[in-house]
Amino acid sequence: MTLTRRRSTTSVRHRPALWMWLLVAIGALALVSVASVALGAREVGLRTVVQAFLDPTPAADVTVIREMRLPRTLLGIAVGAALALGGALLQGVARNPLADTGVMGINSGAAAAVAISVLAIGYSPAGTQVWYAFAGAAVATVFVYSVASVGREGATPVKLALAGAAVTALCASVTSAIVLSDPDALDQLRMWQVGSLGGRNFSVFNQLVPYFLAGTVAALFTGRALNMLSLGDDLARSFGLRVPSTRALVFTIVTVLCGAATAACGPIVFVGLMIPHLARVITGPDYRWILAFSLVLGPILLLICDILGRVVAPSGEIPVGVVVGIIGAPVFVALVRYRQVVKV
């Protein structure tokens, strides 16, 4: 019997246990997805829901289930996954446990672009608005990264945080200026800025699904690189990792994922911030597992909040951005207090 056989460190989890937890999470996601299709402002029996997929006869209930709740659920899964993955990537590359799309300028860039589009062109339908938001998010992220990269050390976490804060402030000012002077822009932005899955159907989903898919697949492959980066730039470089180009690549993936998510539903905060930490509680510091769990936990959170928003309000719906904030804050506080998780 060799003495070196058994190693026990508190941060390495046994792989079979993690696979099991991942399956449990996937099962939970399936359950929540079914709930998302079955529940809502309109009361539809479970039998009708099942029949809508197996043997659909044209009826109002079937339209609501197949063409309103189904795309909404799919979009919720895509956006939840994109935001959670994006948050994990950002936290890894920025080595900042508070990294989130809000901090890096993505949300404010998208909002500014939407405001400018209303000022310049006027009202545009959701299908076109999506592209403006995407462009705004992309421009803001590129700007943040470029500003942070100035100098010999490149985009260090501190410089990224500062650049992100500066760009967020700039975009927020531009948005405020436009919104205060143009009532139409205020009207459009007011609804968009809360972050909502309501009213989005297949047209929005279909337009953005290529970006979600590409971004998710690419993100899942960055696990190893993020593990190396988390050891520090010098150590990562000694492993043969090309730090600047890796960071740039990760940032691009974040832009695609979070830009698409913000374009689809408006800015939703907290998901990108909280889910990676939640995943880390289960998985430990290995980014490959953190990404896998973020991919599943993000949609679970978003769908649960969306369902609550649909059934709790006596009339109309509460936007998912609001519910995530209400639920997310205490959960995050509990997480921080009872676990030593704020170590990236």
Binding site: G40, A41, R42, A60, T63, V64, E67, M68, R69, Y123, P125, A126, P183, M191, S196, G198, G199, N201, S203, R310, S315, G316, E317
Partner: protein, 322 residues
Amino acid sequence: MAGILLAVSLLAACGTDGGSEGGGDGWSYVSGDGERYTAEEVPTSIIAHAYAAKVLMEFGITPVGSYADAPITEDVGLQGVDFGGIEILGEEWGVIDVEKAAELEPDLIVGDWWPAEDAYSGLEAGVEDESRRIGELAPVVGASQGDSIVDLIEGYASLAESLGADTEVIDEQRSEFEAAVEEFEAATAAKPGLTALAVSPYDADYYVAVPQYAPELLDFQSWGLAVIDPDSPDEDFPYWETVSMENADKYQPDVLLFDDRNYPGNMDSLDAQPIADEIAAYVAGAHTTWPAYWLHTYPDYTEQLERLTAFILEADENIGTE
């Protein structure tokens, strides 16, 4: 109905009887909130809400200042109105430049009385605190957005008269209006089963108007058009019932009436939703606009009634199931 119109015409024809007194010995007016307002002298420096300004200008009274709910050039209810020479104090609901208003030294503020909110235009609950101070500059009066637009218009005619205007012009406007009402009533009588629903889809919600708080819809109901009363108006803002888009097929009228203030944007919002295919009236193209909360003059009302009468004559009363 004819009796009410007759009574109203007699009232106006008699002039100083009833709600207002003008002339050399002070000023008095029974406003929409039921109170009598008096002053030692007839007010001359008037600030009016844009729609009230429009109706006062019909009688030759030009306010010194006005505040609107939306950019004046885009407002459905202010098309063709010349605000030249009038100080514009705001073009957004709830935002009034009170400092500029104070510089005009007004002695009367005029705006609609809204019974549901227990307030005059410009002083409602959602108005900014700073803007609401306009109520401190001078007494606020106006006709009531109560049970009928006819009462509203006659109320403003009364006010104009108390301020010294000659309201003769209203007599001819009134007779044209009454003729239009007769045509409208004939059209609705020919289609007794016709039901209508007044809506304003906005973003991801479907808002159904509550006729009880929309005087023009109450008028339509009294003239034979069955405008549907939604069964659960929102508690805190009873002008509408908020219906989720998932339930937008809750009411199935024969015709849809879209709020004309944000048309066709609101129709496009509905069109983008799959549930639109489940609303029979929408699928059949049986929809038009309704003049929402902005009618203040007989010529406007006559024009709208003539348009709606033509629409009703073409309508099919068998589309919906209400």
